[in-house]
Subunit: 745 residues, 2 copies
């Protein structure tokens, strides 16, 4: 490593300038020659039989290229077939020369439905005699895996209700023993609302048919290889016939994985022309898949000194109309963050007639930690213990068994709690509080994910580096890659360019999600840069007739130690590998890696709030996030990530909620009504970084994206109790809900 | 290697179907959002001063975006500055919203020229007092190097005329000694016409400005990395700010390297919008750079038994208005194909007021071999020796010194001559001849080229391979790569896909030219596939818990020898490297190579013709090409390459000629007048492949593109003498020229 340390020094985002100037091209900006526009017609009913579709008039409208029903697509499950299972389910796809014609044609399609009884509440869905939701063969498996969490769990073998596609159980010791031995036992039932990922750019793609029966998909996706595999599987094509071109993503947060791409792809293949399928905001709220609501019954028991003895939990996720809720990860996190000799966690999913769910930043974790961290504060209060000390006493350490029996890797929970204890805000929590103000502490953790990755590092004739990756940059990871490559190779980061390719060309990378891109692809970049450096020095040794061990790479030149004038510029050496007649091969480093273990990341948050007793409004006053990030390669970006996570946590804590009425109709499905936090709603955000290095991440880095979005709900609920003396077990903490609690409701 | 041999088995071109169906997208088919159209205004004079340019009226025309003169571009030498040096030199660039407006605006630009004396004939250009051509600092160096030939020569240090930018000299022994000892000496002066590469698709590009000051160029080019370097150099940009996207090339033959791309790029950068600059056919004939005419005075002397004693040659290439003629390669080939103790070759270039030259299939070689092979026949005739035996006696062998003193690598000239001797056509040349029919034999050779190359080989989840290269496929090289990868890896070639990337993404490759892509990139593909195979077997050994040496890859599966059911499919294993949580890295092979030496390729041609004594028309009746190709990986494609070369050689021999009048005006600059051979003009073509394996080419392959285009002119001239008794030393052998010779003119 050179004397200059780029790692750990804040750096602006590479692509920031073009984004700020509005020059970034998103999928909606794409106009391919001969491109058609597509618009789905959505079911207005949460549950209904499709009796008849009459598209005669629509097909006659000039400019209409096709009006597809499920049967006309030649591939199953791209549209609702005989039955709709949520309001918003696509039933028909209109394809026309322009968007206006799509709208007009959609008006002309007559769909006759026979409404069926809908079940909207998950508990009602599990009751005997409830209408069965969806086609059971449609039920997907837990997709938290793909998003980044490891979940080796025990699948429950007992019979399940028809609308319960999955149930898991983790057990250790015997919780009855714990309750008997405990000096204090608390139990409560918590509930977390369904929320939207609320990205700025709605879901969309443009599909372009190939001559070979294949298809190219330009998509706003977090995972091009994942999308490729899904489209291939859905359409029954070999993967090599599907090409995904990842576009700039205008916000994903877990929600941009894949949605209507197979539908657009099949329409394009049938029509032999490019098809654009970009949802408008209203359709996006109805079709795109949000984060699931959950109910969690939780019981904790501890001795007087705060030693946690038992954890008993019953989690129920509301899956909407298809299985996919992250029950495994939620159960593991709930049962593994603190040591407890006795554990019994059951986690299940219920299907209801609502839009199915997908991932949202730390899938399952905000739900689990809202319950766990609220309950810990209740326990501390009951035992009159300091809530931070209670957590510290029980916090998991490296080697402790998780709920699933696997040992924790090295984790920085204790270090983060200690840093919080030392913080100025924590220290003054008792002295500095106005009337109706309170402080709330909460922890959140994420196990981290691993996925194989590869990367390339080409040395250019101008002395710069081109890093070649297949990962989608959502959060500044490319800027981080540039820093890693610069540090490892020994050049200024400004000399490093990151190139992301499509699935035909890119080195493999997993999906951007689960806080794993820097941890996995970053390591591949690190090793590719090291490979390129070795190649450069070997060429230089040959060219300069020097011993490789005597060579120094500094200021863009390679020279013999102590004799800077002896050397050659990087670009000059690289050009030797690109010259007619040259005996030197091109300089092009590569690496392919598979980290053998994930690296968990923990955050400890502290919120200071004011509760307006008259209106129930909870106003955040200050917020401190302490987080173990392993190593902050680009501290500005790490802090930016944490700011974003805090904001989303705050939204889930105080305001955001997708509400369905009893007939399954979504209320408030637009940004006019869906209550996201605005910048004016935010308190001053303070971030303190803890650096407990990971073993396999580049320069010790670990994932930072998920943890900051987790503790918010509990931190605010705990602060509200501290401020106003009421324990609220349901988020968001909307004013009416807080007011009701204040009034004893 | 598996039992199945794909190498050596004919296979259809991968991209043939889409080309035949008209689905291939060329640069002219590209329409980018906001794209502008550009059209150059060309000088009508061969030599003139530019006195004034008035674009006022043109700029006022609605739809005109810009009218650029040289001074307005901010970069030198993109347009003629103060003086034009050939008729066709771009003086002004009009940029407008559409092509019609470009035409209209061009009409409105007033350019005032002051005509200057032009020199069109190369000998006149070298005379004292001749007008000096061009800006001497514009003179490029010999670009045959880039095209593929090696030329380590002796630059002449004697003073040169102003219009002679280069002169080389090769000397061995003392030719006077040879003439004294010789039993026969012949000498003659030969002349070869200037010809166009006559690709179907005119030159063109679309340049798209970047936000960073850089530019993306979509171009019909044979060498994307070469073009990138040239554009960067011309515009003063670092290479990493220039991205070249190689489009399908509608014929190149050496002429599609780079031309107006820097001009289009600069216009796009200045206007901040994409600019399309595609020449129409008339402009292409005037602006694009053809193959140079040459005059060669040659003297040979030999003993009675046919032992060649001396070669003396004086070559003069007509460079047009800028230096760049392949004089080095011509001189080396002329002085190295046959052994001679005494040698003196001088090769020079004269500048004239005509469009500058560029490469055309085997640059310099058709000129050199027309002289050499004509002269050898004259010598054989004088000595009453069999022309084939004369060649065999003197043919260069491995280790013989070339004119430049370097030893010949392994070459198949002798083997090819022997195969010709054994051929049916050669055997019946004396018995089977009608009236006024004759046979002409000629040899052609190409030293081969080397350039570093890299390639990738990714194993897909569906068990297929993706080969990643940076070379432009002009002649079926991608199909050959698929065969190489299939053979080396052990899968069916149908399971191999070739992906070419732009300069940002591709593994480096040299320009497609000089008969070196299969020889160099092919080897990189071979090694990348071998690397991927090793990775697959290592993963399989781990996954199957087997010893790697016991594993077999067969029928798409890896299994333990003798136990096919034990194994796993390739795709299944590859997916292990792309799975969430997997301990296996992605399977992605790479190679970067630099062949240490080139591999020369030789061809021996035999033409049978009829000469119409009344009209002078030479009608080809039969044609046999024998060629050493090292190893024909895809014999159908190798034969196709040879067919194309023969046809171009026939065109140069009998018809093609770019004619300038004494004022430097091109006559016949369109496909209506430029006489290319049509399919009906072709005799039956027979090809016999000789396989003298190369040391470094994949499976022993060597370059096959250049050699077949070389011997045609001499083969036909020799056949005409055999048929009609007249020796014609000037090609093309047009009817008037032949008639004049027959009449003793």
């Amino acid at each position: 490593m050179e004397a200059t340390s780029w790692v750990g020094r804040s750096r602006r985002r590479i692509e920031g300038n073009e984004k700020v100037r509005g020059r970034t091209r998103f999928v909606g900006d794409l106009h391919l020659p001969g491109m058609l526009y597509a618009r789905p017609i959505l079911s207005p009913y949460a549950h209904a039989a499709i009796e008849r579709v009459d598209a005669t008039a629509a097909k006659r409208l000039p400019g209409v290229a096709a009006v597809f029903t499920a049967d006309e697509l030649g591939v199953r499950r791209l549209l609702a077939q005989r039955e709709v299972n949520y309001a918003g389910e696509p039933v028909v796809l209109v394809v026309a020369a322009d968007e206006t014609t799509c709208h007009d044609a959609a008006e002309l399609v007559e769909i006759q439905y026979r409404e069926l009884p809908a079940v909207v509440d998950p508990l009602a869905a599990l009751a005997a005699g409830a209408p069965v939701v969806g086609d059971p063969t449609l039920h997907q498996s837990d997709d938290a895996g793909a998003h980044g969490a490891t979940a080796s769990s025990t699948t429950d073998s007992e019979p399940r209700p028809a609308n319960m596609p999955q149930r898991l159980r983790f057990r250790r010791g015997d919780v009855a023993t714990a309750w008997n031995a405990a000096d204090a036992v608390i139990s409560a039932e918590f509930s977390v609302a369904r929320v939207h990922q609320a990205y700025l750019e709605p879901q969309g793609c443009v599909a372009e048919p190939g001559d070979d029966g294949g298809v190219t998909i330009h998509a706003s996706t977090q995972g091009q290889f994942f999308l490729r595999a899904e489209v291939a599987k859905t359409l029954g094509l070999p993967e090599s016939l599907v090409r995904v071109v990842p576009m700039a993503v205008g916000g994903g947060f877990g929600g941009k994985i894949f949605l209507l791409e197979p539908l657009a792809a099949q329409a394009a293949r049938l029509l032999g022309r490019p098809v654009r399928l970009c949802l408008d905001r209203i359709h996006d709220f109805l079709v795109a898949q949000p984060a699931p609501a959950a109910r969690i019954a939780l019981k904790l028991g501890a001795t007087r000194d705060g030693t946690l003895l038992g954890i008993e939990a019953d989690l129920l996720f509301d899956g909407g109309a298809a299985s996919g809720s992250p029950v495994g990860i939620a159960a593991i996190l709930l049962g593994s963050t603190y040591r407890a000799a006795h554990l019994h966690v059951v986690a299940a999913e219920a299907l209801t007639h609502k839009t199915p769910n997908s991932a949202y930043r730390a899938p399952g974790a905000p739900q689990a930690y809202f319950a766990l961290e609220s309950a810990l504060d209740m326990l501390a209060r009951k035992l009159a213990l300091d809530p931070l000390e209670l957590r510290l006493r029980n916090a998991a350490r490296q080697g402790d068994a998780r709920a699933d029996g696997r040992p924790w890797q090295r984790l920085g929970l204790v270090e983060s709690l200690e840093r919080m204890r030392a913080s100025e805000l924590w220290q003054r929590r008792k002295s500095a509080r106005g009337r109706d103000e309170g402080y709330g502490l909460a922890v959140g953790g994420w196990p981290g994910g691993i996925e194989p990755a590869a990367a390339g590092c080409r040395i250019e004739g101008d002395g710069s580096l081109t890093i070649h990756v297949g990962s989608v940059d959502l959060t500044g990871t490319n800027t981080t890659f540039a820093t890693i490559a610069a540090q490892t190779f020994g050049v200024d980061p400004a000399r490093v360019r990151i190139v992301t390719s499509d699935t035909d060309r890119a080195p493999f990378s997993g999906m951007t999600g689960g806080s794993k891109i820097t941890y996995t692809v970053g390591r591949a970049v690190d090793e590719a840069a090291a490979d390129a450096r070795r190649q450069l020095l070997a060429l230089a040794a040959d060219h300069l007739e020097a011993n490789i061990d005597d060579l120094v790479l500094e200021d863009g030149r390679v020279f013999v130690r102590g004799n800077p004038s002896s050397g050659a510029e990087i670009g000059e050496l690289a050009r030797l590998g690109m010259e007619f007649g040259s005996p030197h091969p091109p300089l092009h480093g590569h690496a392919r890696i598979a980290n053998p273990e994930s690296s968990p990341g923990f955050a400890v948050h502290l919120a200071r709030v004011h509760v307006d007793r008259a209106t129930g409004v909870v106003r955040p006053l200050e917020y401190l996030a302490v987080q173990d990030v392993g190593k902050a390669i680009n501290p500005a970006e790490v802090e930016g990530q944490i700011h974003g996570g805090l904001t989303q946590g705050l939204g889930r804590a105080l305001a955001e909620e997708l509400i369905h009425d009893e007939s399954g109709q979504l209320h408030g499905g637009s940004f006019l009504e869906y209550a996201m936090p605005h910048s004016g709603d935010l308190p001053p955000l303070r971030v303190e970084l803890v650096e407990v290095p990971s073993t396999y991440g580049p320069y010790g880095a670990k994932g930072v994206g998920e943890p900051p979005a987790i503790p918010g709900a509990a931190a605010f609920a705990n602060a509200v109790e501290d401020a106003a003396g009421v324990r609220i077990t349901e988020v968001p903490l909307t004013a009416p809900r807080v007011l009701a609690a204040l009034r004893g409701g």
